[in-house]
Each structure stands twice: as structure tokens, then as C-alpha cells.
Symmetry: C2
Subunit: 464 residues, 2 copies
Amino acid sequence: MMTSRPSALLTDLYELTMAASYFQHRMFAPATFSVFVRSLPKDRGFLVAAGLDEVLHVLEAFTFTNEDIEFLRQTGRFATDFLEYLAQLRFTGEVYALPEGSLCFAQEPLLEITAPLIEAQLVETAVLNALHGQTLLASKAARSYAAATGRSLLDFSLRRTHSTDAGLAAARASYLAGFDGTSNVLASQRYGIPCYGTMAHSFIESFDDEEAAFAAYAETFPDDTALLIDTYDTVTGAQRAARVGQALLQRGHRLRGVRIDSGDLLTLSRATRLILDEAGLSFTRIYGSGGLNEYQVERLIRAGAPIDVFGIGTDLGVSQDAPSLDIAYKLVEYAGRPRLKLSTDKISLVGQKQIFRVHETKGTAERDLVGLRTESADSVAREVGVATDQVALLLHPVMVQGRIVQPLPTLYESRTRFLTGFTYLPPSVRTLLPEVPYSISLTRALSQLQQESVAQLRARYENA
Amino acid sequence: MMTSRPSALLTDLYELTMAASYFQHRMFAPATFSVFVRSLPKDRGFLVAAGLDEVLHVLEAFTFTNEDIEFLRQTGRFATDFLEYLAQLRFTGEVYALPEGSLCFAQEPLLEITAPLIEAQLVETAVLNALHGQTLLASKAARSYAAATGRSLLDFSLRRTHSTDAGLAAARASYLAGFDGTSNVLASQRYGIPCYGTMAHSFIESFDDEEAAFAAYAETFPDDTALLIDTYDTVTGAQRAARVGQALLQRGHRLRGVRIDSGDLLTLSRATRLILDEAGLSFTRIYGSGGLNEYQVERLIRAGAPIDVFGIGTDLGVSQDAPSLDIAYKLVEYAGRPRLKLSTDKISLVGQKQIFRVHETKGTAERDLVGLRTESADSVAREVGVATDQVALLLHPVMVQGRIVQPLPTLYESRTRFLTGFTYLPPSVRTLLPEVPYSISLTRALSQLQQESVAQLRARYENA
């Protein structure tokens, strides 16, 4: 997440050196690059597309400042005519993409860029960085959403993300994927995400005793207090919180919550619930936190833990079990001809593409086909034998001639897209340990183009 | 890594609400917080301290802008007198810290802050974020440095880090921990890190054939060309690169390198070396990349792979095997009295501390003692029975009354600190799979204070 104007220098050096060579050889024809995740991490059934908003703003603002050009000149690597060309360069291409919050799968294009080769090449690193980081974090957050089955989720990850911008990305991506809020104040200001907080152990320790600390905080925030009860002994902490809650109630205020951050959350949350209920504080919510992940959330809920709100920190903010996606930005067409790489099994899908999602008549997504952008819902429906209205086109034109196609959805709208899409995912796919992968195949037209392209490339290569 | 003025709102909400309550209760006494990593990730023997430069700049610039205050006012959470207090607040405290590039271990303070309670509390999240992310990434990078035994290492991670700032952090932290350069142009500009690049598969695919692509690039950069040879078939690619290298040589230029990005790097690098040598290109270096980590680097080198430069990307940039550290920011003293938490086994070490490193007479670090800041090298030397000059104090005063103690080391100086410190690490600790942990213990004085503090807290708690 950019906190300032994105710099065109935020790129790998080779993008610039390749561009210099393209420039010298007058290679200005349009190229199409496709961004996709090659395979899903272990135990993942789906992805949540995110990062498009940042990508589009980076592309629209793409420009080398005088200072950038001067830095490049001083490296001594680049010819003057190329630097002059860079100084006036803007991104003029078009982008088809999955809207943020879309559910998607391996091998499906998250985004396709078509632009003069140099422009499309130069933006590779920034595009990948934004889509990778945010799709990674949103896809991770969606797993807690799946596990929480309606309980509230809060992002507490800022202190352990890989940078401050990564913390903003985690707050935004988790809200997109069904979280209810964040502790991150700047993310709240910037993205309008609801902000929540409780207190730290240091607050309790700064007072001479725990109950004095509770009472002091409740005095400051009588209508918005969540007391941390595990600093010394959780059950005793709960009893003290209950007394403070009762005192608040006598003054007409309701204790918002108590938080348990360590120990056996199942046992302790049950004991705490009992104490609160007996004190007439049935409205006081129990927050659980402390190194939680989606598996623990699922286990706690299945076991009947009376935890109303889960605070998820580190495990979410770094996507602990799968901290990266195998994402790629691959040339699939240049100067009107399909392009691909042969040497390994990492073959990419050629041409300008579209994703066709086939829904059952009751609405659940049944399978996806990746096809050519020139194909229609109608032709794909005929190919798979369903009605045209059961086929949705997932990639949308979001940038034309370097300008964003307005209006972009708000974060809240994208979140709604995720929440809706999630209900249409097959249960076997949205579970934490999916066994059967979602069905992805190619349309006949794409399959044929792909085979032809491979054959032609092999033939040309063998004759070379 | 901040790309713009750090915002005081980049914090967890609870820091602000706790501060509001401290303010209401006039709790302005000095507090000391200690930052440390509770335990090392699996298969890690040491940490490389990093992130201090960012921490100090954040602290020195710490201020709420009018816009920040207005945002906080609009949340409706905070009293006007508190907001007025915040508007004039600056960080006035002192910081003791491990210089960047220091080798350190679990339980040792990376940094201790002493400041009026509110100031010290408000900066928690930003301090943790910076120290966590960069110490994580530097510690990860140092493992590749350990494995590379003198071969060159380049950071190629920008496209897969969790944000653009995380990419800057990865470039900086890996250079600090012994890498030779980065592909990240902005990191090169900002931190003066050497910048390197080769070419992408898309470059090859944009031309009608591979050799034409090689020749075109060599024409643009005759003295700085590294050809990517695995787009179609690596051995054939090596032969074509050799022809282009010979043509360059005839014109008086040297082919800098070739890069292999997929397949069996051991076999392919050997075949490539042979082809290059037979073509009279013994000076052309072989770059290996493609999903590498420190274990693969170690295996390839042990097996005799003639790879001169390793490009490490994703695995480094997200610290794939251990994407987070169990880092904590704990109150250890307030209003002159030791503070701690009792409820779990996560007990922190009370008081203002110092780390004493005991070296063998030949220089290797033998053990560390964590003690009180008031203890001297002399007293610790007597306690463990060594000469005073075998004991080094690791925590330095780096900020006094809110101002940085000048001059801070340059990144290059910090890198030298790491390189030197690394040679003094016991081999059993710097190996990729350490079996015996480095020895850390408490001085008698700290041990006694700790025991007394626990006993006093237990007594007060049980009487409460």
C-alpha cells in the first residue's frame, strides 16, 4: 500500500534495461501480459482477488520525475535518447481485471494488461507486488471468515507485518474478506474501516493493582471499555472485571467487553461467561486473542467457546502458513502473435483471455472455464450445455487508454462482492482443508490456440 | 520502511485509548519498555538486529498533525484536553539499543525505551513494526550469507514482498546481512545499495528467436549483459549465449553473465560452465535463480555447482520458513518500580538492562549475560572469571531527550558490523540447522532483582 506518490523507480532494474533495449530496437508494438497464480498454496481452496485499486492508481500516475531520470542518468547505464523517452512516458494501455473481492483460482488471470511493450514491461514489478501482497492477505483473511461462521473478526496485525504499508494492506485486505474492523488507526482513517481496541498488559501493570486499572480505564471510556483480564490470573481478572462492570451498570453504562489473550481460551471463556452472566453482564462480549489462526477459531467455535470476537494478529498479517503466492506476470501476446515459454512445465496460457464462471441453477459456482476474450457467455454456455444466464464473465475492462474506467467500487462494495461470492462457493472449496479442487478448464477455442501456439513455437525453435 | 513522513496514526487504537486514560489519571512518570524476541524460530541460531534507523527517525519525528487530531476528534472517543495534549506531544525519551547489524539472541533486549509513560506507550506499535520486519528479514538473509560461503548474493524479492515498503526493507536488510546487491532500483537510490539485473523471459519471447534476443540486448549493453538462457532449452541457450559472447569479445567486450532460472541448477550450471569455457568465456559468470532458498544454495555449493551469483527472491522477501518473530514490547519498569506479567510462562525481564557478551581470548563469542544497566564489564568479568577486555557491552545509548545521538552508522558501516560479528559467531550457531543454542544467562544482580520482583508481585497480588 503506497503511503505516498508511487515511484516509477520502485521496480527491478531489468525492467529498465529491457526497456532500453526494446527502445533501441524500436519495439513499440502492443503486448499483452497476464497475471495469474500458478498453483494454490497447500490446503487452500480459493483466492480472493485484491490489490487492483492500487494497481490502477499506480498505472494512472506512472511517470518518471526529473529526479528519477537524473538518478538513472548518473548510473551511467542508459543512453540519453532513452532517458528522454522515459521522461515523457505515460501508461497508455488497457487493463482487464477481476474486481477486488472476486473469488478466483489458480491459472485464472487476475489481470491482463495490453500496452506498448515498453509500458507493459516497465510496470511488471509494481503490478505484481500490489496484486501479490493484497491477494495473499485477503485470501488468508477469508479463511478466518470461513471459520468464524458469523462471529466477529478484528485485525490486530500491524505490529508484526513486514512493514507499515504491509500493515495497511493487511487491514484493508482483511476487511475486504469479511473482517469487521481493525486496530490500525491509519487504516481506519484512510479506508474508512471500523476501528476497535482494548488495552495492553502494560496498562494493567502501570497501576498498583488490576482492579484499579480496570476502574481507571472504565472511568475514561465508560461506554467503550474492553478489559484485558489475563495479566495475573484470568478467572480472578474476570471477577474483578465483573465488579467494574456492575459499578458501570449502576452509573448507567455497559461494559463492552473483556479480552482473554493467553491460556486455554475454551475453558477460560466459559468460566468468564459464567462470571459475567452471574453478575448481570450478559451483554458484555468476550474477546479472544493471542496467536490465533483460522484453525483455532474453527476449533474453539466447534467446541462451543463463548467467544464473541476474535482478534487475529500475526498469523493473518504475515499469512503465516503460506507467506507467498506463486504469482507470475507473463507475456502472452506481442505484435499480434501468441507468446510463451517452453523450457519447463510452467507453460502460461496464450492470448487475451476471459474467465467464464458457470453457476448451477440454484446459484452455486460449479466450474470455471478460461477462454478467449472474444468468446461470449452464449458460446461458452452452448459448449458446456447450460443456459446463457448461468455463465458470468469475470474479467472487466477497468482501464482504457491509461485512464481508470470510473467509478471504481468502494472498499465496502468490494467487501460485499466477496461476501456474496463466498456464499456461492461450493462448501467443499471454502472449507479450511479442501480435498476436491474447484473445476477449472479451458474453452475449446483457447485450448486450440494454445496447442497451435506450442506447436508453432516448437517448430520454429527446432528449425532455428 | 517509511516512504513518507511517518504518521503518528500508524498505531493500534489501544495505544491512544490507554494514553487517554493515563492522561486522565495524570500518570506521567517515566516508564521503561523492553523489546525482545521471546524465542527463535525453528532451526534458527541467531538474529541480526535491524530497523533501528527507522525507529529513531520515527521517534524523532513523532508528532500528531492538525489533520490527525481532527480525525481523532471526529471519532468522538477522546476528550478535548487530551487531544490538546496530543497536539503538542513530542517524544522526549531515551533509547538504548543494539546497533543495526549486531548478532543477538532470544530474550536479549533489541532496544529499551525510557520515557514518560504516555510517550513510551504511544510509540509501541511503530517501534515493534520496524524492528520486527527488518530484524526478521535481516536474520533470514544472514542464512543465505552463511550458506553462500563467499559466493555473491542478490536480492530479487521486490515483486513478492507483502508491500512495496516491505520490498525496500528486504533490499536494505539483505544488504545489511551480507548480500551484494539488489534488483530494486528505488532501494539502490535510497540506500546506496549496488543494483543488478539480467533480463526476463518476456524479453526473449518478444523476439523471433532466442539468439536474436541475446544479440539485441548485447548491442544495447555490450559491457553489462547477463543473458537468461532457460526460456526454451538451457543447454542450447548456453550455446547461443556463448556465440553472442564470442561476438562481443571480438568487438572488445566481455559478456558479464548468463542466468539459469529453472531446472536442475547443478547439472545445467556445469554444462553451461563447460560451454562458456570452451568458447573462451571463462570470465562470464553464471547466475542461478528460481525459487532458491539458503538450503538449496548450501547444497548447490557443496555439490560443486559452478554458480557465481545466487539471486534470491520470494523465500528471502517473505522469510518463507519463518515469516514472523515472537517479538514483544514489555513494560519492565514504571515510576521507579519493576513491572511484569505473571499469568503465563511469558515472563519478561524487569528493569533497565544491558547485554554483556563474553568473548574467548581468540575472539569467538562464547556466551552472553543479560544484566542490569548499572553493571559494568568489570563486574561481569569478575562474575564469570574472565578478563575485563573479554566482555563487551552491546546496548548503546542512541537517543537522549528525544534526539538521535549522532552520528548514526551508515548502512555500509552496519553491514561491516554484521560481517565482523558473523566471523565471531561460534560455527555451531551460524550453521543452517543449529543443534546447540548459544548460551544466554542472567547476571546475579538481574537474577536477584527478577526473583524479588516476582515475589513482591505475587505477595501483593495474593493480598489484593
